[in-house]
Symmetry: C2
Subunit: 210 residues, 2 copies
């Protein structure tokens, strides 16, 4: 067992190479537009090997999808359940982490959101996302602030929509904003870095009014 992991680590096993390539292509083009031949080529292996390891395009996709969603939810859970930080500090952490994360992995938001739509109930229904949010310290701190009259709008969904909307949407509509602003990739990323500081301040201001 230990030996197997060692081997994997030192030469990036074929299986891992295929998964890495699949991740890239699926994230960029979505399930339907992806051809297994593209994945094989990118992985530097033969098409037959893909099926040898993963049986079918669909099974490979399911694995990538699951890992992507899991990665996303885990990073979410990590911040939302930190018991040392205040609600305000958590907003800063979420903003900071997500903007960095999406800058590194700019294809994940549209990928997840458009593939989830096709699967609709399939994925959402079985994932414990509702429990994750409802049981989080983040959620409880929000409730508490509402009771104390520190937050005007009581519905936590609006709160989440606002935070994620301000953080994620600019990336999703990147081509649009690059077009409007006449920006290149670097200039766009610089804008996003600015938002690391701006979003928490804006959220703070929004909290007080209704």
């Amino acid at each position: 067992m230990a030996k197997k992991k060692l081997i994997k680590a030192e030469d990036a096993s074929t299986e891992e190479k295929i998964k890495a390539a699949a991740r890239d292509v699926f994230h960029k083009k979505g399930y339907a537009a992806t051809r297994t031949r593209d994945i094989a080529e990118k992985a530097g292996i033969n098409l037959a090997l893909l099926n040898y390891y993963f049986r079918s395009k669909e099974k490979l996709f399911d694995i990538i999808m699951l890992e992507t969603v899991f990665e996303f939810m885990q990073s979410m859970a990590l911040v939302m359940n930190d018991n040392k930080s205040s609600l305000e500090k958590k907003v800063e952490l979420i903003t900071f982490n997500y903007i960095d994360f999406i800058t590194r992995e700019p294809n994940i938001p549209i990928f997840m959101l458009s593939e989830i739509r096709n699967n609709a109930d399939g994925l959402m229904e079985k994932l414990p996302i509702r429990q994750l949010v409802l049981n989080s310290i983040f959620f409880k701190q929000h409730q508490e602030a509402v009771v104390k009259g520190k937050i005007a709008e009581p519905d936590p969904l609006h709160f989440l929509m606002n935070i994620l909307g301000l953080i994620v949407f600019p990336f999703i509509a990147k081509p649009l904003f690059k077009g409007i602003g006449g920006l290149n990739e670097n200039q766009f990323n610089k804008l996003m870095q600015e938002r690391k500081k701006l979003v928490p301040v804006w959220i703070k201001a929004m909290i007080k009014v209704k």
Copy 2:
């Protein structure tokens, strides 16, 4: 000419039936996942007819895409160039119109954003969206407010990102928020109706801080 239009109006010409069906399917599934057979079936006609009228899947798609983008930009331009309303009023109008529009056509945002991504430069480069925004009264009013010190953050792109993020993102991530909130379609739509009043208030509060 007039006669032709009359005929079209009274029996919804085959061409229009195909386009309507194509619109639905493309918007819901995207280009790659759409099969021309689905469109033909939905239009109640034979597959061969689709090619008779539109030559190819791609040409049909281009038409739908163009019309969709045009419809979107026109509704945008209409509000942004209204010369009777203040900037504040325009934010209210945009919020109101877009929430109603997307509630009627919930598939358009993800459709446009994910298909634009594949086409990247193809579409964005040739559309006059930059000019549309830069020449708009909306834009000039924003500049003016910045000069007068009424808006803390001077970059109009941040302003646009915030408005659209708060309005559009909840719809894009609808399955996610329905899952978290345990909502059905009606309850979700009710939340969106609430946001018609909330978003302008929030924007107003954000404007003052930096």
